[in-house]
């Protein structure tokens, strides 16, 4: 499951973010001279290509894991995000250059410290149903308030609630009051009474029919990107949703739409058809009439089907990329550009394995691990041509967060140093390991204070440790083929650089819900996962990584980091905030509490769509609004032209903003 989410995220990113050229530091796989061209030339070149093209009304794409439900508040499935992004509009949306432009909100403003945001809603819009017909329900400010009302009720089981619940004034207390009433801990008030207080206590209000105002607990300059990324900020027709109860949005017929498309056909686990909304407020910019999704369970099949013209898009994994070289398709391979999702290693600081536990709490050992990873080798699993471009040493992705001066968050010192360090230093790793051994072991290789025992990581595994070197490390991953290969590579490089006489690296593959059975009960020593920068603020990830944060799966204890996060949150300016966050992140990464190594990017793709024609949804999911679909596959040469032109245009656009 995790893999699918990762792929989907990557796919989504790839589709939308076909540009990262505003980051001059990142090397392009093959740098083209077009990068230096003049805006007019670029535009002309693009026009020239587009002149000879015919465009399609239908876009055929695929998904690889099931669409469980369309309930955008409660579903945990990342797959749903793409459908919802196209079917339910939020208050704002990015344009093709990533600049926020009006969507359902015509205009917005915030107060000085960016704690109160007021949005003016577009008037006269109606919700439509799955047949595309207008319903009696109008899209109003109340729908946005009701969205929050919906997620504020524990019975509705809203997913990924934490950020929003903490950010919107009063929502946290409201939520727990209701929960206490449900569980019977609070008896002096009834549920009805508590629910009735929503409008008073929670910081979201419909000032009038078309004005909604959010009051936040802290300054949030990134609020617009949160609106883009979080489905919890989407509107709902409350009366309609309540009338359906639990049936709300279980399929396309039990929900209402207000976006560019509506789901006209839905076969669970099989196919989804999006049809353009005939009453859409921005109808003229909707270029594709129909988007057809079908389920294709694996990458090999999607590639085959792309070759046979059965789909308009396919991702091309590293191995496939190599095998396509020299075929007719070699010209159509396009590099994916960027992913905000970072792959990193969790380390278990409180696990039962006494050997690992001793060592992981030692800084030298953590550094030994850090320096033992040959990230390029790992990266070449996904990007065989230029593995360097997907290396990543930081948690938050480069290019995701900028301060008001346009300086990238990862260029803040001391994060910049970490970003630029080459961690593939086996010699250094060995030195650190020897240092650690000196500190932790006696001369006979016995780990001091460590008795032979049996480690019980059931249901994942159980094994015996002898309290001596080599240190037994239990790496737990999913049974996904690609992840197993990566794990085997980990094993090879760690044992090779640190030495198999110091490290005994054991791989356990586990299927099923890995978090619930592996990560949460600490049934692992090292675990591989990914994190994604959700919106234009490091807090999205970093606040979850504090000592008591939800993302601190390995139960490390980092008071220094916690303090820096406190400071960051309390900072008065956004730049100061970023500075503290950068320091905190550098602390965490530099000391090896987490070990990020590459981005989730997967090498290449092939497509029929013209790049840079859809909104640049950095934090959300692909929107098809504006996308042009050609009748033949895009070639690399064409792509380069588009890319060059886009770079120029985007620079212009950002400058103008």
């Amino acid at each position: 499951m995790k893999r699918f989410i990762a792929i989907l995220l990557a796919v989504a990113m790839v589709l939308s973010l076909s540009a990262c050229q505003f980051l001059p530091k990142l090397e392009d796989p093959d740098t083209t001279p077009a990068a230096t061209m003049q805006p007019e030339d670029a535009a002309n070149a693009v026009d020239k290509i587009l002149e000879g093209k015919t465009f399609e009304n239908v876009y055929k794409t695929y998904f690889s894991s099931s669409y469980a439900s369309f309930n955008y508040y409660s579903t945990a499935y990342a797959t749903v995000r793409e459908i919802i992004a196209n079917c339910i509009d939020g208050l704002v949306e990015p344009n093709t250059y990533g600049v926020y432009v009006p969507s359902l909100a015509e205009s917005w403003k915030s107060n000085e410290d960016q704690t109160v945001w007021t949005f003016k809603i577009r008037e006269g819009l109606k919700w439509i149903d799955h047949t595309g017909k207008e319903t009696e329900y109008a899209v109003t400010a109340q729908d946005f308030v009701d969205g929050i009302r919906y997620i504020g009720d524990p019975l509705n089981g809203a997913y990924s609630l934490r950020v929003v619940r903490n950010l919107i004034e009063g929502l946290y207390d409201y939520y727990w009051l209701l929960d206490d009433i449900d569980s019977g801990t609070v008896t002096d008030t009834t549920r009805e009474d508590a629910v009735a207080t929503f409008d008073e206590v929670v910081g979201v209000k419909a000032i009038d029919e078309y004005t909604v105002e959010y009051t936040l607990t802290s300054s949030a300059p990134y609020f617009l990107s949160l609106i883009e990324s979080s489905m919890l900020m989407l509107p709902v027709e409350y009366e309609y949703a309540m009338s359906l109860g639990e049936d709300f949005a279980i399929d396309n017929e039990h929900m209402l739409y207000c976006g560019a498309y509506y789901v006209s056909a839905f076969e669970r686990d099989k196919a989804i058809t999006l049809t353009a909304n005939p009453n859409y407020w921005d109808k003229e910019n909707v270029t594709i009439e129909t988007v057809e999704y079908q389920m294709i369970p694996d990458g090999t099949t999607s590639l085959e089907m792309f070759k046979r013209g059965e789909t308009d898009y396919t991702s091309v994994e590293a191995e496939a990329y190599l095998s396509l070289q020299g075929t007719e398709w070699a010209d159509n391979l396009l590099p994916t550009s960027h992913s905000f999702s970072t792959n990193y290693l969790w380390l278990d600081f409180a696990g039962e394995n006494p050997e690992f536990n001793k060592f992981i709490n030692n800084e030298n050992f953590r550094k030994a691990l850090m320096y033992s990873l040959n990230r390029e080798s790992l990266a070449s699993l996904r990007e065989p041509v230029d593995p360097k471009r997907i290396l990543r040493n930081t948690i938050n992705a480069e290019g995701a967060i900028y301060d008001s001066n346009g300086v990238d968050y990862t260029d803040y010192s001391p994060l910049k140093e970490i970003k630029e360090t080459d961690y593939n230093q086996p010699e250094l790793a060995k030195q650190y390991m020897e240092a650690a051994i000196k500190e932790l072991c006696d001369e006979n290789g016995n780990i001091i204070g460590c008795e032979p025992t049996t480690v019980d990581y059931l249901p994942v595994c159980s094994f015996d440790v002898d309290g001596k070197l080599p240190v037994t490390i239990c790496y737990v991953g999913t049974d996904d083929e690609a992840e197993i290969i990566m794990a085997q590579l980990f094993k090879a490089m760690i044992e090779e650089s640190i030495g198999a006489d110091y490290i005994d690296f054991q791989i356990q593959a586990y299927s099923g819900w890995t978090y619930g059975t592996v990560a949460d009960p600490l049934n692992y020593d090292i675990y591989f996962d990914s994190l994604s920068t959700g919106y234009a603020d490091p807090s999205g990830i970093l606040t979850r990584m504090t000592t008591d944060g939800a993302e601190n799966v390995g139960k490390y204890n980092v008071p220094e980091f916690d303090a820096l996060i406190e400071k960051a949150l309390a900072a008065t300016t956004f730049e100061e905030r970023l500075q503290y966050f950068a320091e905190a992140e550098a602390y965490l990464c530099g000391n090896g509490f987490v070990i990020p190594f590459i981005s989730s990017l997967r090498g290449y793709y092939m497509s029929y769509s013209v790049p840079y024609t859809s909104p640049l949804t950095l934090y959300g999911n692909t929107k098809y609004k504006g996308t042009l679909v050609m009748s033949e596959p895009l070639t690399k040469a064409e792509f380069d032209v588009f890319e060059a032109a886009y770079d120029v245009e985007r620079a212009e656009a950002l400058k103008a903003n």
Partner: protein, 315 residues
């Protein structure tokens, strides 16, 4: 019928021969002697088919090779390379069947895989047939047990195997033992039923009744009267168990209840190879061919043995 005497006039008969001969009672008894031997006929019928002989030789060669190779070879089948240039190499002099995604030698892995898979399958066959036979014997012989056993059979075969496979995976390590237990957890009852049906037909045969009249204890009835009659079935079932076990190992790998990732088995190799099949078909080629040879061979051997052990086919 011609009614003429057909005496051959050319032959002169000796009148002295027309006298009483000495009667040899043993001679008269011995004419009834038949040299038919069940096992000899079975083996001969079995090997009469040249294809079967070839398969037996082939399978023996493969199994011997799979045990000898790990002993004599110094190639580490788990040796991972960190360099992309070593990955997915095409067959070459150094790597006869190329290397896999992480640069491991497929030739070496195939033989380790054959050994491990075969051992696993063999153990499963042993346990399925062994336990199945014992349970089947008790089941077949004890009429009172019958309704209970049938109920147990129904229940076990009715619970979808994935349910307890996953549950097993939950309570146990991924290891050969887990795989063994999960694969062997069901076969025995199917075998037991098979043997029960066979034993039921033997149970009331006259020679068993005769044994009971002689007061023969249960233990000896089992070892002397029953097992010798179903030994050919046991061999056949065990032989047929092997392709089935290998097949389910592949399937379990597909479902995700499998072996430790470092474990080299044919199932693991084939499942790995499947992912990159369209890209590097040679990676799957050798292991798949060996796997198919083994499963086909055992299937054929099992069936041919069954045919050969059927007295009706002793022609």
């Amino acid at each position: 019928m011609e009614n003429n005497n057909k005496t051959d006039s050319s032959r002169i008969l000796n009148p002295l021969k027309f006298r009483a001969a000495v009667f040899d009672s043993m001679l008269s008894e011995d004419t009834g002697y038949s040299n038919y031997s069940y096992w000899r006929s079975t083996i001969r019928t079995f090997f009469k088919n040249k294809a079967v002989l070839a398969l037996v030789v082939l399978i023996a060669a493969i199994i011997v090779m799979s045990f000898v190779y790990p002993m004599v070879s110094d190639v580490d089948p788990n040796k991972v390379s960190l360099f992309i240039t070593d990955w997915n190499q095409r067959p070459s002099a150094e790597h006869w069947f190329g290397t896999d995604t992480l640069g491991r030698d497929i030739w070496a892995r195939a033989w380790y895989g054959v050994r491990n898979s075969f051992l696993l399958a063999f153990c499963i066959a042993l346990s399925d047939v062994g336990i199945g036979m014992i349970v089947g014997a008790i089941w077949g012989y004890n009429k009172k047990l019958d309704p209970i056993m049938i109920e147990i059979y129904n229940v076990i075969t009715n619970i979808p195997s994935t349910v307890y496979l996953v549950l097993l995976a939950y309570i146990m390590n991924t290891s050969y033992l887990t795989l063994f237990i999960s694969m062997a957890s069901r076969g025995w009852i199917v075998e037991a039923r098979f043997f029960r049906n066979r034993i039921l037909s033997i149970r009331d045969s006259e020679y068993n009744v005769a044994s009971r009249c002689l007061g023969t204890p249960m233990r000896r009835i089992a070892t002397k009267n029953i097992i010798p009659h179903i030994i050919s079935l046991i061999i056949m079932e065990a032989a047929l168990c092997i392709p089935y076990s290998i097949g389910s190992e592949v399937f379990l790998g597909f479902v995700g209840v499998g072996l430790p990732v470092d474990a080299i088995t044919l199932g693991n190799i084939v499942n790995h190879g499947r992912a990159s099949f369209t890209l590097h078909p040679y990676q799957m080629l050798l292991p798949t061919i060996i796997l198919c040879i083994i499963t086909v061979a055992f299937y054929v051997i099992g069936n041919k043995f069954a045919d050969a052990s059927d007295p009706r086919n002793h022609v």
